[in-house]
Symmetry: C2
Subunit: 323 residues, 2 copies
């Protein structure tokens, strides 16, 4: 991306992660014109983060000769529960307690319209707007990573939830037979079986509990992708682990179908890059478990990768201007 | 209700059941001015039903000197999956196949605005508008009856679902250890444990499988309310059955919390009339199972009884006028 000038109305989409802050400049129509990132300073309870972003936005405005009057808004995705008014109730990864992100952003950036959402919700909104869910009317997105991110879109809008916990599918009580607790304190959360971490743990358990041969035994450490690759190469133990994980994920989708009956499901995150080998297992189990009316809903791979959060953050603030 | 004349703008709320059609006349503000019912003629695939309703509406207009120009709309609740455009995809209890209820109603009633929704969704909307959910921003209602009815309200609107299956919590796959199939063809649906029928079946199973004393053994037949009453009177077996049923219902709510995180839950239907004795069991299990952010959501008894469907049907058509 080499450009010296950005004309017309623009929107900033900011994806605030625990290590870096991804910054995107979008046209009003949702074209990503420029992106870069800055480090996330989590020191002193993350008090520098919003100021750093504000200064970076000013630099970018200067760099591309953007007139501040042409900036329609700044949207943020943050890793924690966010209320619809843009107030965050604690982000462990950023060091934040309660932070009024949208309000702070308006103060720091000369009154520019601002909105904030949970990172997984915002990523879902991004896929809905410009990614795998483009053109659909409702959608549920799951990001399979260290945890299980989730965002729900109904009637074209993110479901924030009354307590900022809309789309927390990772923590629905589904998994039986576990004794170890989830990070949230409960036991039996969906992400304990369906996240990348859940796949690794299930494989470790299986390797301990059985003498069955497996290529995974030759690895000192392995990732969820290694389990997927082993399964794809015919490793029976790895395949069993993956079936276990995919069946629970499908049960999570079938359960969500009984609540909001979305038009489609989008699966993102590292593991989903395995493509149809992984998705077909989820599709087969979903068809078996879902209520008949919802059985034919599509299950597809996410399309925007790590940019989804920036796209969704930009769309979120545009939505807030309409509301 | 004695009146000879109804003035001002009115809305008809029609709750179409398998035996009777409940008809309500409402003011625009949602006051129920008059109600009565007519039989549901399910003969010949239910082809007389909408015509019967149309004639009854004309009679009521005449009876109360209602000017047709003052009728804002006619809303319907029907026992089957309904798309947002008011097309029903089969109602077994009415004998209907695919019926375009809203469109048919407009034709039969001189073009008056019409809308249709699933009966459980519409009942939820009624409770949201004028009942137990009044003043809340989002809500999930469960009606515990022969089956498990459910309606979800997000951002003040019913979630219809992409396939007319929004709020089908009765058929989410949750219950383990069952062998008998649900009416829908799957096994392990929530309503198999949490409906009134589910409570009766669980009690019968328990009575067969154990020698424990129970007052239920002296009854030739019993209803779910008998199980509740026995539990309340200290019958240990009945109490165990009820705890089993309430725990699954609470798991269903905890799972719904992870999708839409509603402000509150409203429980209706015959069994819910047992009040706090029944609700407290659900509340305790919900607090244990739900994600921490959603843990304090209220769980309350429905307030409108059998009128909820008429209220919601009226509100549905008013909403459609705004949209």
């Amino acid at each position: 991306m080499t450009m010296t000038r950005i004309d017309g109305k623009t929107v900033f989409g900011i994806d605030v992660g625990g290590t870096t802050v991804k910054c995107g400049i979008f046209s009003k129509e949702g074209e990503l014109l420029y992106k870069d990132e800055i480090p996330t300073r989590t020191q002193e309870k993350g008090r520098f983060i919003l100021g750093d972003i504000s200064r970076h936005i000013e630099e970018l405005e200067k760099k591309f000769s953007i007139d501040r009057g042409d900036v329609l808004g700044i949207g943020y995705g943050v890793p924690g529960p966010v209320q619809e008014d843009g107030v965050v109730n604690g982000c462990v990864n950023l060091g934040w307690g309660k932070v009024a992100v949208a309000e702070e952003s308006r103060k720091l950036n000369g009154g520019i319209a601002s909105a904030a959402g949970n990172d997984a919700n915002v990523a879902a909104l991004g896929e809905f707007w410009k990614g795998a869910g483009k053109g659909s009317g409702s959608m549920l997105m799951i990001t399979v990573g260290t945890g299980l991110g989730c965002g729900v879109i109904v009637n074209g809008r993110v479901v924030f939830g009354a307590h900022g916990a809309g789309g927390e599918l990772g923590h629905i009580p589904l998994v039986t037979g576990l004794t170890e607790p989830c990070n949230c304190g409960k036991t039996g959360c969906l992400e304990q079986a369906a996240s990348a971490t859940g796949i690794i743990r299930a494989a470790q358990r299986k390797l301990r509990q059985s003498d069955a041969p497996s290529t995974l035994r030759s690895l000192d450490h392995f990732m969820a992708r290694d389990v997927v690759d082993a399964a794809r190469n015919g490793d029976a133990l790895a395949d069993e682990v993956l079936n276990y994980s995919c069946r629970y994920l499908a049960q999570g989708l079938a359960v969500a179908a009984g609540v909001v009956d979305p038009e489609m499901y989008v699966i993102g995150g590292g593991v989903s890059k395995a493509g149809d080998f992984y998705l077909d297992k989820i599709r087969a189990a979903y068809r078996e478990l879902a209520f008949y009316a919802s059985r034919d809903a599509k299950i597809v791979q996410a399309a925007l990768g790590n940019d989804a959060g920036m796209y969704g953050a930009a769309r979120l603030v545009l939505d807030s201007l309409e509301a």
